[in-house]
């Protein structure tokens, strides 16, 4: 695999509904932004780009098969190569990685990855039904197909297993909504207290409406280039572009039915799933005590796919201790609880410690007033953009949106794009994006790095 640069990106405004534009024109909004930021006109870009990857999750929402080609067509990229990817909530993250792959493999020098979702085409509860069709329709869906319900079951197990509290989960909501008050792309920027989150209408016990992301219409795109591609783009734009590379990717999977996930032994956990930070004698003793108390891995409280994706991405990017080495993470917080579960999968803390870790301050942004008493200084801000909970989750666009926000962090251009410098992570040199599907069925982790 050869080096791949992330050279530009764009995000449309995410909103509950965007009836002003069709999905093609929504993508065009993000595409035009990416090109304008690159300083290249459409005609020149079409001359240079080798092809694209399209991502959208649900044919039900669009009620249009082959919507990917309709975007390719609208953007004026025909007859160049393209294909559509789909993998539930991780569709955007998979698209990001397929864009990378097209360039890393040598197939393309310049590749456009674009994604979108138009979820406003149906009412919210019908939308929930469509999303629940991404659970086994013979066994899970008919029992009460509802993703918030599935995640709430994971939460109750996490709470019973580790003593995680609903207030710890609520702190994630406070953090992400507050971050979003500085992000003009966000759909739901709010100042909330832990009590506001708990007082919100109960959706699936113990998750309230403020613990759960909303549905959105929106689009995003990312442009990838090889060394040669970068040279062509720089020649066309007449300027040197900031060097941000994809340092490594990882992807994992797990059983479609959450109930089918294994409950592995301590030995198998260490054989297959432990990260380098968990190899110390102290960490082993900690985990041994968990297993002695009846903990099994991954069960329904943990995401083996997320751990597997993290392991590969860290290995490929040479990361030993993610909390210390990553400057920020944009992760898939469809639920406050899944952000907490993901801290553990990504090795920011150990399994079982996600609750206390969520409130210790390490994942918060410096310079944002959360109204919370945080014991420690920010170390690796998580979802500085506001994440899915506050930015919205137009599924096929979400993972690419994370890629764009991560790129801007590493370019140091947050102020330019957000018209506000508050969310710029100081000296950001390395960041991760994490995209997640189903009850943890597909997970992608990609590491982006500013070239030294």
């Amino acid at each position: 695999m050869r080096p791949v640069y992330v050279v530009s990106g764009g995000v449309s405004k995410f909103a509950k509904a965007r009836p002003d534009k069709t999905f093609q024109a929504l993508v065009k909004e993000a595409y035009d932004y990416a090109l304008s930021d690159l300083g290249i006109e459409h005609e020149k870009f079409v001359e240079l780009v080798d092809g694209s990857v399209a991502s959208y999750f649900s044919d039900h929402f669009t009620r249009q098969l082959m919507a990917g080609i309709m975007v390719q067509d609208y953007l004026g990229l025909c007859p160049k190569p393209s294909h559509r990817v789909e993998g539930g909530g991780a569709t955007g993250g998979i698209c990001f990685q397929e864009g990378w792959k097209n360039v890393a493999s040598g197939y393309m020098d310049i590749c456009l990855a674009f994604g979108f979702e138009t979820m406003s085409h149906v009412e919210t509860w019908k939308g929930n039904e469509f999303i629940a069709l991404a659970s086994d329709v013979s066994f899970d869906y008919p029992v009460g197909g509802f993703y918030s319900g599935y995640y709430a079951m994971m939460v109750t197990r996490h709470m019973a297993e580790f003593g995680t509290t609903v207030e710890q989960l609520a702190a994630v909501s406070v953090k992400n909504h507050a971050n979003a008050t500085h992000n003009p792309y966000a759909q739901k920027a709010r100042r909330l207290t832990v009590q506001d989150v708990r007082n919100a209408p109960m959706v699936a016990w113990p998750l309230t409406r403020e613990d759960i992301c909303v549905m959105s219409d929106g689009a995003a795109c990312v442009i990838f280039a090889s060394e040669e591609g970068l040279a062509k783009l720089e020649k066309a734009s007449g300027r040197r572009l900031p060097r941000v590379t994809v340092a490594g990717i990882g992807r994992g999977t797990d059983a479609m039915r959450m109930a089918d996930r294994p409950h592995q032994s301590y030995e198998d956990f260490y054989k297959f799933h432990a990260l380098p930070v968990e190899e110390s004698a102290e960490a082993r003793a900690y985990y041994k005590s968990l297993w002695d108390k009846g903990f099994r891995y991954p069960g329904v409280h943990s995401f083996r796919a997320g751990r597997s994706a993290s392991q590969q991405a860290y290995r490929n990017a040479g990361i030993q201790d993610p909390l210390k080495e990553l400057d920020f993470i944009e992760l898939h917080d469809a639920y406050t609880s899944s952000e907490v579960q993901t801290y553990e999968d990504m090795g920011l803390c150990r399994y079982g410690e996600g609750g206390p870790f969520a409130v210790n301050g390490k994942t918060f942004m410096p310079g944002v007033d959360y109204g919370l008493k945080l014991k420690e200084k920010p170390e690796c801000p998580v979802n500085p953009s506001g994440g899915l909970i506050a930015c919205g989750h137009p599924v096929g666009a979400t993972g690419l949106m994370q890629g764009v926000f991560a790129l801007w962090q590493l370019q140091g251009t947050i102020k330019k794009h957000f018209k506000d410098a508050t969310l710029q992570v100081p000296n950001a040199a390395k960041g991760a994006i994490h995209s997640h599907a189903g009850t943890g069925t597909y997970v992608t982790v990609s590491i982006l790095e500013k070239e030294k």
Binding site: G144, A152, V203, A204, D260, P262
Partner: protein, 180 residues
Amino acid sequence: MAEKKFPQRIEDNLQGTIVYNIPFPTGDDLSGLKDMSPIVIKYPYSIDYNFSYGQDSPFFAALANGRFIVSREPKTGYTYANPRGHDMYTGRETEWVEIQPEGKIHAFTVCHFGSEAFLPETPFILILVEFEECDTLFLGRLVGVDPDAASLDWIGRKVRGRFLRNAKLKPTDIYFNLAE
């Protein structure tokens, strides 16, 4: 031979939406169209599927007869509470084994909202059940408990399966009550 006459006009007011007077510029100046509000139309969409349960069919036949069968790998004994034709570890075909649907609550939630199809049933309780004989869990509904009294104490409580009298050939043909 007389030429057959075909109607040249579609009869457009017999069915469906009839629209009168969508505003549009009357003159030659079309520049204002860029400011026009989008047109949003609403229409129904429904489908009947002929869906086969395939190799999982015996599970539903068992439920319809008030019995509960699970899938066991014949050599290793690894047992799935949900039907599964082949084992994920050995790749071998599983066999059907009957168990009593009695177990413990592993995890739960009370859904106060839901997908449109289940909204009329809210609040309903979902549980993942641990069966002694199985290595994996089973998703079901818990019935007969106050949904407003949700508590982590529910985890670990014993439950017993109960069958619908008239099977609907869905996994909800079995549901659970507290056993104590």
